[in-house]
């Protein structure tokens, strides 16, 4: 991941991490907010539906408790009065107790054979065998507890249409001091249960159901739960007790199941929690919008910033590449970040410095070359002067005055050109003149043993040449090219234009030079610092110093025929 940034541009390395960081932090923030909000709303819904369930349960508990209290009271009074042998008063007590609680239809004491002992009602007891009633069977199945029947039409009396729940419990009673076992039968009006259940708002589709210990439906106030077809009954069965989020007919609800105290019943509430889904969806939407818009803003801002930073640097970079190519002559003007401006200034001064340094180097090189050049030129003079003066002495001794005069004049001209008021570059015309003087001197010195000829195109006479470039070649031809003892040698000097270059040739008709010898000569001339062929090397080096690679020295030879040494130099016309 970090390698990824190593070769990326500035704008990438700003843009990518920024976007990554923003994505990460946005995601973290949105997700945590979303989930904590989601959890909170779920918790609130859960808590409130639990509270609703508790409240309903408490209402029912209170109601059941009041019924049980009444039954306990009746039981207590029955024993009390039975113990006092005062059962006659019991009818009134039963009656009063039933009247105090209007939802109590009747309170009846029957014996274990199903015969009526005491009743709160004037109604006639059913002629059916009460011992077959389910509430009767319940009562005798466990004598220590109160039994609550399913809602049914009151069946302890004839002609009753009331829908009741029958609460029964085994109880003792006394007749004439003797204890008997009986059953207290309290019929409570079922409509009261319905009233209790309907007072709470459980939301759209929300409802409550009551089930008994066999998971049979006792009561439901919801449309989605009717006897024999109750989805929520199955849910309540599975939950057993406690709370859970469930879905009923595609509606999310929170189900709570709890025991009804002192009974074997359970009450389940189903509270509509669809609102949670709605808030979740709208939350998701809002978060999505925030996420996307923040992303867009971030991307725009970071790409703008990264561009602002990187574009001046890019300009600087382009300039640097130009400089790499050798263009030192452009000044950079960059506006932007302070750092980049400072960098540009520094860069400019650096380039300025480099330019100065380069010029200095060039200057120094030139100076150095000049010094070397002059040194090389000055190498010629003493050597030649010594020989010439020798010859003049010789001529004087032999009284050859004409020759002495001729020679001294030539020498004088020779030196005038050699000196040339300090100039290093002279016209070819002057160089030829110089060569002629030299040859004149040498011819007298060598006793006219050789002959020479100049073949020079008039048109090249005004081109510039390096001073003393021809004379060493001639000197070389005289010393090595011709046999001054036996033969009458001949030296040809040519100057002409060819291939856009000035050609200066010195040809002799001496022994010639074998090819391998030519090769050795080249080596000495072009690459070695010392050794033989000082004259040629001197010329070659001066040509190179002045003209660079544009000048060359070529040696051509045919054995026993001729040798040509040729200088090729660029054309440079005098102004």
């Amino acid at each position: 991941m970090f390698k990824l940034f190593k070769n990326s541009s500035i704008s990438q390395s700003i843009l990518i991490p920024t976007i990554l960081i923003v994505i990460l932090s946005l995601l973290t923030v949105s997700l945590t907010t979303f989930f904590s909000y989601q959890m909170t709303t779920s918790e609130i819904a859960e808590d409130s539906s639990k509270e609703i369930n508790k409240q309903i349960i408490l209402n029912f508990d209170n109601y059941i408790e009041s019924v049980i209290n009444t039954a306990n009271y009746i039981q207590q009074k029955t024993i009390e009065h039975g113990l006092k042998n005062d059962n006659a008063a019991l009818s009134d007590i039963y009656n009063q107790a039933a009247e105090v609680q209007p939802d109590i239809e009747s309170i009846v004491l029957i014996d274990t054979a199903g015969n009526l002992i005491i009743s709160s009602s004037y109604k006639d007891v059913s002629i059916e065998d009460l011992t077959t009633k389910s509430w009767f069977l319940d009562a005798i199945s466990n004598e220590s507890i109160y039994h609550f029947s399913s809602p049914h039409q009151q069946d302890i009396f004839i002609d009753s249409t009331a829908e009741v729940i029958t609460v029964t419990k085994m109880a003792d009673y006394y007749i004439g001091g003797n204890k008997f076992s009986g059953i207290i039968v309290v019929d409570i009006n079922f409509s009261n249960i319905i009233t209790l259940a309907s007072t709470t708002n459980l939301g759209d589709g929300g409802h409550l159901i009551i089930l008994d210990e066999h998971d049979s439906l006792i009561y439901s106030n919801g449309d989605s739960c009717v006897p024999n077809n109750c989805i929520t009954l199955e849910i309540a069965k599975d939950i057993i007790f406690g709370g859970e989020s469930v879905e009923v007919d595609g509606i999310s609800m929170y189900a709570n199941v709890n025991n009804l105290t002192a009974t074997r019943w359970r009450l389940a509430t189903f509270v509509n929690t669809e609102i949670i889904n709605q808030t979740r969806n709208s939350n998701l939407l809002i978060m999505g919008i925030i996420f996307i818009s923040t992303m867009i803003v971030t991307m725009a801002a970071s790409s703008y910033i990264s561009n602002r930073i990187s574009s001046p640097i890019n300009i600087l970079k382009d300039h640097m590449q130009q400089i790499e190519k050798g263009d030192f002559y452009q000044k950079i003007e960059i506006h932007g970040q302070k750092e980049v401006v400072v960098l540009t200034h520094s860069f400019n001064s650096m380039i300025e410095e480099i330019k100065t340094l380069m010029n200095k180097v060039v200057q120094e090189q030139r100076e150095k070359r000049k010094t070397e050049f002059q040194a090389l030129q000055s190498q010629i003079n003493p050597h030649f002067l010594y020989n010439t003066l020798d010859s003049i002495v010789y001529l004087s001794e032999n009284k050859m005055n004409e020759k002495v005069i001729e020679m001294v004049i030539a020498l004088s001209k020779f030196f005038r050109i050699s000196i040339s008021r300090g100039k290093n570059i002279i016209l070819l015309r002057e160089e030829i003149e110089h060569a002629k003087n030299y040859l004149l001197i040498q011819k007298i010195r060598y006793n006219e043993k050789f002959d020479y000829e100049f073949i020079v195109d008039e048109e090249v006479m005004d081109y510039k040449v390096v001073k003393l470039s021809l004379q060493p070649l001639i000197e070389n031809a005289i010393y090595h090219g011709i046999n001054t003892e036996y033969d009458q040698g001949k030296i040809l000097i040519r100057a002409f234009k060819k291939d856009n270059k000035l050609m200066l040739e010195v040809e002799d008709d001496g022994y010639g030079i074998p090819d391998e010898k030519i090769e050795e000569l080249y080596q000495n001339i072009k690459y070695k610092q010392n050794g033989t062929s000082i004259g040629l090397r001197n010329v070659f080096q001066r040509l190179k110093l002045y003209y660079g690679d544009n000048a060359d020295l070529i040696i051509e030879s045919e054995l026993d025929e001729k040798t040509i040494v040729r200088l090729e130099i660029p054309l440079e016309r005098a102004k």
Binding site: N72, G242, N259, T261
Partner: protein, 338 residues
């Protein structure tokens, strides 16, 4: 840098895993109501017994089945290995059984016995308790010793009518113990041939304060002399005694700080449970006697049973009888001033 990221990531992973895998090795003890002094004492014994063997976490249901259900739900999420439950409503215990059965966690019920049919719902159910009729039988024995032969009652038959005028302080209506204790003590006395006049059966929900109030209002209107008070537990007996002291049914004539059965005015009051306060009242002569519900022994048995179930060592080598593989009955003990 990369390493730091990896370390942080691993740390987070471990943290998350750690949070998920946190194991719960405590044993939850869910009591019906810590206000009940007997329950509080029972709890103390259990915690004492468990010390060094098990870690018990106590929950108080505050006498609300709703709250108890919530506690059970909460505890089930921790997935304990065993649950000890003292149900608030014995009728509702079947839901507790059905619920916990799904998690396959054995339940030991204490103090309040679920209905027999409910105890048959699963084979991982246990009940440790005292046989309710046993306490009433012991109470009746004490009464026989006090009043003498049915035909020839002792001087405790203050009006000398040959009939014992008595008040019964009954626990919670519908509570199995309350029903049985009340039923059996009367049954036994009648069986022995005593003539009884039950002045009142006061239902006091096991509570001292209710008993005090009930006895107070009863004594304000009563035109008869009470010769015997039978209480379903010590707490109610003590509450009633406090009211009776105010109504001068107990008078320390010689002012020695102790009610002397020979010289002072007193009425026999009998309790059940043997709580700490009851022993003080017995020492001072106010409470004639009590039947100790041996919560100490029950606690020992409870811890032994829990350990046996936890270790899977089998239930054959226990120091007590496991009736029907479910029930452990711990007999009551008679206690009175010597």
């Amino acid at each position: 840098m990369k390493k730091i990221v990896i370390v942080i990531f691993l740390f987070l992973v471990i943290l998350t895993l750690g949070a998920c895998e946190e194991s719960y090795d405590k044993i939850p003890l869910i009591l019906y109501n810590e206000i009940d002094p007997y329950i509080l004492e029972f709890e103390g014994h259990i915690l004492n017994e468990a010390e060094g063997k098990l870690e018990i976490e106590v929950f108080d249901s505050q006498n609300s089945q709703l709250l108890q259900n919530e506690i059970i739900e909460e505890v089930l999420e921790k997935n304990p290995s065993i649950m000890i439950i003292n149900p608030v409503d014995r009728l509702g215990a079947y839901t507790i059984i059905e619920k916990i059965k799904e998690y396959d966690i054995p339940i030991i019920f204490i103090n309040r016995e679920p209905l027999e049919e409910d105890m048959l719902l699963w084979d991982q159910l246990y009940y440790i308790g005292a046989p309710a009729e046993n306490s009433a039988a012991i109470q009746s024995e004490m009464i026989i010793d006090l009043f003498g032969a049915p035909g020839n009652l002792s001087e405790l038959d203050k009006n000398d009518d040959g009939i014992i005028q008595l008040v019964i302080l009954k626990g919670e209506q519908g509570h199995q113990d309350a029903e049985i204790r009340t039923e059996v003590v009367i049954e036994k006395l009648e069986l022995y041939g005593y003539e009884l006049e039950i002045i009142s059966i006061e239902i006091c929900d096991w509570e001292k304060v209710i008993a005090y109030n009930r006895m107070n209002s009863l004594l304000t209107t009563l035109d008869k002399e009470i010769e015997l008070v039978i209480s379903n537990n010590d707490g109610m007996a003590i509450g009633a005694i406090d009211a009776m002291i105010e109504h001068e049914l107990f008078v320390d004539v010689n002012e020695d700080g102790v009610i002397d059965s020979e010289t002072d005015i007193w009425i026999p009051v009998l309790g059940i449970d043997g709580i700490e306060e009851a022993f003080e009242y017995i020492e001072l002569g106010y409470l004639y006697g009590t039947v100790i519900n041996d919560s100490q022994r029950m606690s020992e048995i409870l811890i032994e049973l829990v350990e046996a179930l936890l270790n899977g060592t089998g239930l054959d080598e226990l120091s007590f009888d496991l009736i029907d593989g479910k029930y452990v009955w711990v007999d009551y003990q008679r206690y009175e001033k010597d």
